[in-house]
């Protein structure tokens, strides 16, 4: 037996100074991440603050201009409009989404997957699409114009458009808030004779009200910073986000744009801080010993919820179906015969080039973004904690609190500085990719971190003791196990990049025009049919890629079934 130990297998001469490769991977990676985050997140934001307070002539910035702007009647009117719209939308969306989420998580409604898929449709298209559909439905020549006494353009048009646009965002937050429940609590409640309503008030509501608050904040922030819907159906009803957009893009008033950007940053920062604080207070709500709640069928309750779900899904399908249908109509409303002539995009300078740009942007964003965020999350989660990792954690949280509009403004101010050595990137697709990754960084990274935290914390220690370089371990063990999460991130980044308008609208050049922006431009130029066609194209592309990746994910899971189904981790 002694022989077993003595016969040391050949270690191979290529083994370098033991941990050099690991150090390069870990520390090099962390510092690289820091540089990227500073360049892509921190400096643009600082540039925006600086622009807002610097008083350059003709830019509308500086403290005097700020005082003038904030006290003007016009600003107060814009602010009032923005607040009214955002609060109304949040007040409508959150109860709807809560009911929908409750139906999916806590009742026995049939065909849950189908309803869930339909409800997420708005995520797959630019936010302008609901606006366009509304014009075809209720505009001056709309199909259902006679149902309304008033014009759709204005307050209610914006509200309905935003409701559709923000619904899936709120729904996702509330689905996860209602996902887990401890069955023992409900057993205890019913054994004490509590009615279902009482059980809801004392168990379900306290467990999910933080999610309700988070959803409310999210919807409010999305609304107040969105200008896609107001641009299309706003009419004379103006809001702040639109004003910032016009100040920068239309009037080259960068200082004024920055000032409004800062105002728009406030609600996001505020709700982010409160949300973080609430989350810290409500940490150990679900203990490890809890039993997962499984809803029992109840005919009356299930039917009632099914009715609500059907109604919402029908509305969504109606809106998106209308947009698709209108993109095929030859000349609304005079010639209703179907044709594909809107899909030639002959009015766009580059025609289909715009779509190819978007595909390239979404592809690059998805591939580079998912690798970057996943590797970054690995370097944060599985290495020794240090001031550097703390700083990285903090920095990678920032994009979540910064609306795309504000980030885009920051990019303009930072990368458009004549003295910036990176100035050459301005207007290029590379910068658009960087901006899009930065914009959606936090969600992607949180997904990666959650997946990584489920892995045994000793995996890395085991690899080290076996003298396996960390990078090799990352590629051979960590990545394969987390492949489904990686595909999830890939899908999220692709779809987001395909549909985003808010950040990139300040950064494109004629060569790098994107499909989602072209929708806005075409609509602005009165080519609503073309806008609808391009939106439909984006929607179909996003849906196809999502389905493809979902299929790939399923394939991966099936191939790995031998170890996944039985693995005890």
């Amino acid at each position: 037996m002694e022989q077993v130990l003595l016969s040391k297998p050949q270690a191979g001469a290529r083994r370098m100074p033991a941990d050099l490769a690991d150090r390069i991977f870990v520390h090099g990676g962390q510092w690289l991440l820091l540089v990227l985050l500073v360049l892509a997140v921190l400096l643009p934001l600082l540039a925006m603050l600086w622009r807002g307070f610097a008083s350059e002539p003709g830019q509308g910035g500086g403290l005097t201009a700020a005082a003038e702007l904030f006290t003007s009647a016009n600003f107060r009117w814009l602010l009032g409009n923005s607040l009214a719209v955002s609060l109304t939308v949040a007040a409508i969306v959150v109860p709807l989404a809560y009911t929908f989420a409750y139906a999916l998580q806590r009742t026995c409604v049939p065909a849950k997957g189908l309803w869930r898929g339909i409800s997420l449709l708005p995520l797959l298209a630019p936010s302008i699409l609901p606006g366009i559909a509304l014009i075809y439905l209720f505009g001056n020549q709309g199909a259902l114009r006679h149902l309304l006494t008033d014009n759709i353009y204005g307050f209610w048009g914006i509200v309905i458009g935003e409701v559709i646009y923000t619904f899936p965002h709120a729904l996702m937050v509330l689905l996860s808030a209602l996902a887990l429940a401890d069955a023992r609590l409900f057993d205890a409640a019913s054994s004490m004779g509590a009615s279902p309503w009482r059980a809801f008030r004392s168990i379900t509501w306290p467990g999910s009200r933080q999610g309700v608050f988070a959803a409310f904040c999210l919807v409010f922030t999305l609304c107040i910073t969105d200008f896609g819907v107001p641009v299309v159906v706003g009419g004379d009803y103006q809001v702040l986000a639109l004003e910032a957009y016009k100040a920068v893009v239309g009037q080259q008033q960068f200082g004024r744009g920055a000032l409004i950007g800062m105002v728009l940053l406030l609600p996001a920062l505020l709700s982010f801080a409160v949300d973080l604080w609430l989350r810290r207070r409500q940490r150990e709500a679900m203990s490890g010993r809890a039993q997962v709640y499984q809803p029992q069928p109840s005919r009356r309750r299930d039917l009632a919820f099914l009715a609500v779900v059907l109604l919402i899904c029908a509305a969504l399908l109606g809106v998106f179906g209308m947009a698709m249908y209108s993109s095929l109509v030859k000349f609304w409303p005079y010639d209703l015969s179907l044709s594909l002539h809107h899909y030639t995009f002959s009015e766009l300078p580059g025609g289909w080039q715009v779509y190819r740009n978007s595909l390239l942007l979404a592809g690059c964003t998805a591939v580079f973004g998912s690798l970057l965020t996943f590797t970054g999350a690995y370097l944060l989660e599985k290495t020794r904690q240090s001031p550097l990792t703390q700083a990285l954690r903090l920095l990678s949280f920032v994009p979540m609190a910064v609306p795309g509009l504000v980030l885009g403004l920051g990019y303009v101010f930072f990368f458009n500085l004549p003295g910036n050595p990176l100035h050459g990137l301005y207007g290029s697709l590379t910068l658009l990719v960087a901006c899009t990754i930065a914009h959606f960084l936090t969600t992607a990274q949180l997904t990666a971190s959650a997946a990584l935290r489920q892995l045994d914390g000793e995996f890395e220690a085991a690899a080290l003791s076996l003298k396996v370089p960390l990078l090799r371990h990352f590629l051979r063990v960590t990545l394969p196990i987390c492949l489904p999460a990686l595909l999830d991130i890939l899908r999220y980044l692709f779809v987001s990049a395909m549909t985003t308008v808010s950040a990139v609208i300040f950064l494109y050049s004629p060569d790098s025009l994107l499909a989602a922006i072209a929708v806005l431009n075409m609509d602005d130029a009165g080519n609503v049919g073309g806008a609808a066609a391009m939106s439909t194209l984006i929607l179909l592309t996003s849906a196809a890629v999502s389905l493809l990746l979902a299929g790939a994910s399923r394939g991966v899971l099936r191939r790995a079934q031998a170890w996944r189904t039985t693995a005890g981790h």
């Binding site: 297998p9 000793e458 995996f459 690899a463 003298k467 396996v468 031998a562 170890w563 693995a567």
Partner: protein, 346 residues
């Protein structure tokens, strides 16, 4: 490369204000199995992680043989480690797991080594299975094979039995010890379970609050605990507060004869329950009258709870074979606390 001795010199480690290791020194001879035993939070796992290089000690030195590894990264130290969770990679087969640390070998020699290791741990033919398809005990063996495959100088075991149920545990303890002996590999094992430590170790280091309280063979630890903590932590015991009375110790009204020690002014006497003699047939030293309170049946033994008549309200324990157990019906008994079995602590 054969196995080596291990020396720890004055290891210190603090986490913020918490002193996890406070000057630990240990010598482990080549081929020896040493258990680090202590309650949770005592620093034993931290010590193991320092030996492994997974934590860096604040002060002190670690030697593998005469090689100072104190500042070396884990990859440069040459040890194998078995984790509490086994940390088997679920996406790799048993063969791939065992071969994980064998990079740089030809395919043939790698396959031969994996087969050799699987035979060693008695899992021949499981090459293509995944860890999730194995039982807990089998997973432990695969993890052990993986740790031993690169023929390390030293084997570290971090609570290796805690994920197993009690029946498998004792069996695997014996097997692991057998394997360790036949390989002759120096081994350090962390455990909070004294039975495991007793069963397996050549020597046990009892650790408390980051210090080694006693480092000795299992027999010594049990028979002659060096500190009250060791006495209390390992096995059961009776404690009697005393005051000095010449050569004797006075407990309440009783005077106890001691063996070969001159007691301090005041302190505590310690006595193992199985050393207490119940109803001796002939006269013994320190024989006192007592009342039985309770009998607990433990299978091969019985535990008897009693109170000395001169010390009411102070429950003491005795352990004896079930046949020797007096009837509860007549609660009055005589108990002897033999002087040799009494230990004195301040």
């Amino acid at each position: 490369m054969a196995t080596v001795s291990l020396q720890l010199r004055d290891i210190h480690k603090a986490f913020g204000a918490f002193q996890a290791l406070d000057g630990v020194s240990l010598d482990v001879s080549a081929g020896e199995l040493v258990c680090l035993l202590g309650p949770s939070g005592c620093g034993k796992t931290t010590l193991l992680r320092c030996i492994a290089g997974l934590e860096r000690q604040d002060g002190g030195n670690i030697f593998f043989g005469n090689r100072d590894v104190s500042t070396l990264p884990p990859q440069a130290r040459d040890y194998g480690i078995l984790f509490q969770s086994y940390a088997l990679f679920p996406n790799l087969t048993v063969a791939q797991n065992i071969g994980y640390g064998l990079a740089g070998n030809s395919r043939e020699s790698l396959r031969a080594r994996v087969a050799e290791m699987l035979e060693l741990v008695g899992l021949k033919g499981s090459e293509q299975k995944y860890p999730g398809q194995l039982s807990g005990g089998q997973q432990q063996r695969v993890a052990l094979a993986r740790a031993l495959a690169p023929a390390p100088q030293l084997l570290l075991l971090d609570e290796p039995m805690s994920a197993l149920d009690a029946r498998v545990r004792e069996h695997l303890c014996g097997e692991l010890r057998q394997l360790q002996k036949s390989l002759g590999i120096t081994t350090v094992m962390v455990t909070h379970n004294q039975d495991e430590a007793m069963l397996m170790a050549d020597r046990i280091a009892v650790i408390n609050h980051g210090r080694v309280e006693q480092y000795a063979t299992p027999q010594e630890i049990y028979r002659a605990p060096a500190t009250p903590f060791v006495a209390e932590f390992v096995g059961q015991g009776n404690w009697l507060p005393y005051e000095r009375d010449g050569e004797h110790a006075r407990v309440g009204e009783l005077s106890l004869r001691l063996h070969g020690v001159r007691p301090a002014e005041r302190g505590r006497l310690f006595c193992r329950p199985e050393a207490v003699v119940v109803n001796p047939p002939v006269h013994e030293d320190n024989l006192f009258s007592a009342q039985m309170r309770e009998i607990t049946f433990l299978g091969n033994r019985c535990r008897l709870s009693f109170e000395l008549d001169a010390l009411p309200g102070h429950a003491l324990l005795a352990e004896l074979a079930p046949d020797a157990m007096p009837r509860l019906g007549a609660p009055h008994i005589w108990v002897a606390l033999p002087p040799r079995s009494l230990q004195v602590f301040v």
